[in-house]
C-alpha cells in the first residue's frame, strides 16, 4: 500500500494536520501567530545547515527551529517588542538561509521544494519521521494539556497552582520546532504557519470547549490535506499551496455558515421585526 506515492502523500498530510491542530490552537489562543511564522522561516537556515553538513534535512531544521524559538522566547522577556523582534529574526534567518544555500556548489537544489513543500516526494523514511514527530508532539501536548491551558488563561492562576508558565511556554516552543521540522516536506517553510493557524481559526466558532476546538481543527486539517492532494493531482497544481487553498476556503465557508445559522436562529427566536412600533 505504501508503494503508492499518493497514499504516502496523503498519510504525510494527515500526520502533519494531526500534530498541527492542537498546537495551532495554542498559537491562536496565545496570539503567537507571528511566532509560529518566524520559527518556520528560520527553518530555511536549517535546510542550508543540513545540506552543508550532509545530515538529514529534518535534523538541521529541528536544531535551527529550536534555537530560533528559544532565542525569541528568551529575548521577549527582556523588554524587546515581540513583533519587531520576530520581524527582524524571521526574515534575516530566511534570507541568510537562502544565501547560504545558493553558495553550496555541486548540489542541485530545488529551492521551491523547501519553500512550498514537496509532498509527492515523501518516501517511507520521511513518512516514519513525520508520524514519529507528530505522535511525539501529540503526547507532549496531551501530557501537559491542562497545565498549558491554565497558563494560557492566566499565568497567575497557573503559578498559584504550582505550574510554571515559563516551563509550559518551553513545552510549546519545543513542540512547535518539531512540527516545523516534520512539515517542511509537506507544505514548506513559507506555508507551515497556515496549517497551524487556519484549521484552528476555522474550528473556533463551532466549539464550546478547548478540546472540541483542537479535535475539530485536526479533522479540518486532515480533510484539507486529502482533498488538496486530490485536487492538485487532477489539476496538476503545486500540492502544498493547493492544500493551503483548500483549508483557507474551508475557513471562509465555515465562518460564513456560522454567520448565516446565527442570523437564522436570531430570526427564529424573534420572528416579527419591531415594525409595529412606528405608529
Amino acid at each position: 500500500m505504501l508503494d503508492d506515492f499518493l497514499i504516502r502523500a496523503a498519510l504525510a498530510g494527515v500526520g502533519v494536520s494531526l500534530a498541527a491542530a492542537p498546537l495551532g490552537c495554542f498559537i491562536v489562543w496565545r496570539r503567537m501567530a507571528y511566532f509560529g511564522d518566524a520559527t518556520a522561516h528560520a527553518a530555511m537556515l536549517g535546510v542550508a545547515l543540513s545540506l552543508t553538513l550532509s545530515t538529514p534535512i529534518f535534523a538541521g531544521v529541528l536544531l535551527i527551529s529550536l534555537l530560533m524559538a528559544v532565542t525569541v522566547s528568551t529575548l521577549s522577556g527582556r523588554g524587546y517588542a515581540m513583533d519587531t523582534l520576530l520581524g527582524v529574526m524571521a526574515h534575516s534567518a530566511l534570507a541568510v538561509g537562502l544565501v547560504a544555500v545558493s553558495f553550496l556548489s555541486g548540489v542541485r537544489i530545488n529551492l521551491m521544494a523547501y519553500l512550498f513543500g514537496d509532498i509527492l516526494a515523501v518516501g517511507r523514511t520521511d513518512l516514519a519521521i513525520i508520524w514519529g514527530g507528530a505522535l511525539l508532539v501529540l503526547v507532549l501536548v496531551g501530557y501537559r494539556w491542562s497545565a498549558l491551558l491554565l497558563s494560557t488563561l492566566s499565568p497567575d492562576l497557573a503559578l498559584a497552582s504550582g505550574i510554571s508558565p515559563r516551563r509550559e511556554q518551553l513545552v510549546l516552543t519545543i513542540a512547535l520546532a518539531i512540527v516545523v521540522a516534520v512539515s517542511i516536506k509537506v507544505v514548506g517553510v513559507l506555508l507551515i504557519a497556515s496549517m497551524l493557524i487556519i484549521p484552528a481559526a476555522s474550528a473556533r466558532r463551532f466549539s464550546r470547549t478547548p478540546e472540541a476546538m483542537a479535535l475539530m481543527a485536526a479533522v479540518i486539517g486532515a480533510c484539507a490535506s486529502v482533498s488538496g492532494l486530490t485536487l492538485s493531482y487532477h489539476f496538476d497544481s503545486p500540492t502544498g499551496p493547493t492544500i493551503v487553498c483548500v483549508v483557507a476556503l474551508l475557513f471562509v465557508v465555515l465562518n460564513a455558515a456560522h454567520a448565516v445559522t446565527r442570523r437564522m436562529r436570531a430570526a427564529h427566536e424573534h420572528p416579527t421585526p419591531c415594525l409595529d412600533r412606528q405608529d
Binding site: 491562536v28 489562543w29 496570539r31 491542562s146 497545565a147 491551558l149 491554565l150 494560557t152 488563561l153 492566566s154 497567575d156 492562576l157 497557573a158 503559578l159 498559584a160 497552582s161 504550582g162 505550574i163 481559526a201 473556533r204 466549539s207 464550546r208 470547549t209 478547548p210 472540541a212 476546538m213
Partner: protein
C-alpha cells in the same frame, strides 16, 4: 498562626518592591492591605502564593495550609472557547458535587454550562472565587476582587466573602482600594508603601498620621466620613462576635 513572613524583601528585576515585611495571619482573621498604586500590594500577595521568590527573608506556612487565590482580573480571549465547568477543572479534575457546591458558595449556582466570554464582570469575579473555594482553602487571598464592579456589586461581593469566612472558617487577606469597605469589614488593616507603614484595627489606623499622609486625607471631615460608616454598620458588630 497560618502564615507568617519574616523580614521579607522582594525585588523584581533590580528594583526593590518590598522591604522588611513582617506579617502574621491567624486562623479565621480578615486582614486588608491598603496602599497607593505601586506600593507592592499585588507583589506581596503573589509572593505569598509562591509566584515570586523573595530575595531575602522567609515565609513560614503552617502545615496543612491551603491557599485559595482570586486574582485581580481574568482577561478572557475571544479565541479560547471555555465553559465554566471546564474552567473549574483546570488543572485538576474535580468531582461534579464539589463544583456544584463551590459555585453555590460563591453565589452563582447556575453558571456551569455558560461560556466564560458571556459572563458579566460580577459573575466572573464570583467564578474566580468559586475556583479558589474548590481547593477547600483555610486562607483566601483576594487581589482587589471588586475592581470593575459597581458599588452595589462590590458590596454584595464583600458580603459573600464575610459569609464564606464564617461558614468555612478560613482567614482572608485582601487588597482593596475601597477605604469604606476596609474600615467597615476588616479586623486588621495594613498600610503598605514598599514596607509596612502602620497596621492595626481600622479605627487606630484611620487616626494615624501615616495613613492620612498616604491617602491624602487632609481634614477631620474626610476621616470622620470613614468612621461614621463603621459606627453605623451592623456587620462590624456581627463580625467581631464571629471572630
Amino acid at each position: 498562626m497560618l502564615i507568617q513572613t519574616r523580614n521579607l524583601c522582594v525585588q523584581i528585576g533590580k528594583v526593590p518592591i518590598l522591604r522588611n515585611i513582617d506579617l502574621q495571619v491567624q486562623c479565621g482573621e480578615i486582614v486588608t492591605i491598603i496602599g497607593p498604586n505601586g506600593s507592592g500590594k499585588s507583589t506581596l500577595l503573589r509572593t505569598l502564593i509562591g509566584a515570586l521568590t523573595p530575595s531575602t527573608g522567609q515565609i513560614i506556612r503552617a502545615p496543612g495550609l491551603s491557599i485559595g487565590y482570586v486574582p485581580q482580573r481574568l482577561y478572557i480571549d475571544d479565541t479560547l472557547p471555555m465553559t465554566v465547568k471546564r474552567f473549574l477543572q483546570l488543572p485538576q479534575r474535580a468531582p461534579a458535587a464539589a463544583i456544584q457546591s463551590s459555585l453555590a458558595n460563591a453565589g452563582v449556582p447556575d453558571l456551569q454550562d455558560q461560556q466564560l466570554m458571556s459572563l458579566s464582570g460580577g459573575q466572573l469575579q464570583r467564578l474566580l472565587l468559586a475556583r479558589a473555594l474548590l481547593a477547600e482553602p483555610n486562607l483566601l487571598l483576594l487581589d482587589e476582587p471588586t475592581q470593575g464592579l459597581d458599588r452595589r456589586g462590590s458590596a454584595d461581593f464583600y458580603r459573600q466573602i464575610d459569609r464564606l469566612r464564617q461558614a468555612l472558617n478560613c482567614a482572608v487577606i485582601m487588597v482593596s482600594h475601597d477605604l469604606q469597605v476596609v474600615m467597615r469589614r476588616s479586623e486588621r488593616v495594613i498600610c503598605l508603601n514598599g514596607h509596612i507603614r502602620c497596621q492595626g484595627q481600622p479605627a487606630e489606623v484611620g487616626r494615624s498620621a501615616e495613613f492620612r499622609a498616604l491617602f491624602g486625607i487632609e481634614d477631620d471631615e474626610d476621616a470622620l466620613a470613614l468612621y461614621n460608616h463603621r459606627e453605623h454598620s451592623h456587620c462590624a458588630g456581627a463580625m467581631r462576635e464571629a471572630g
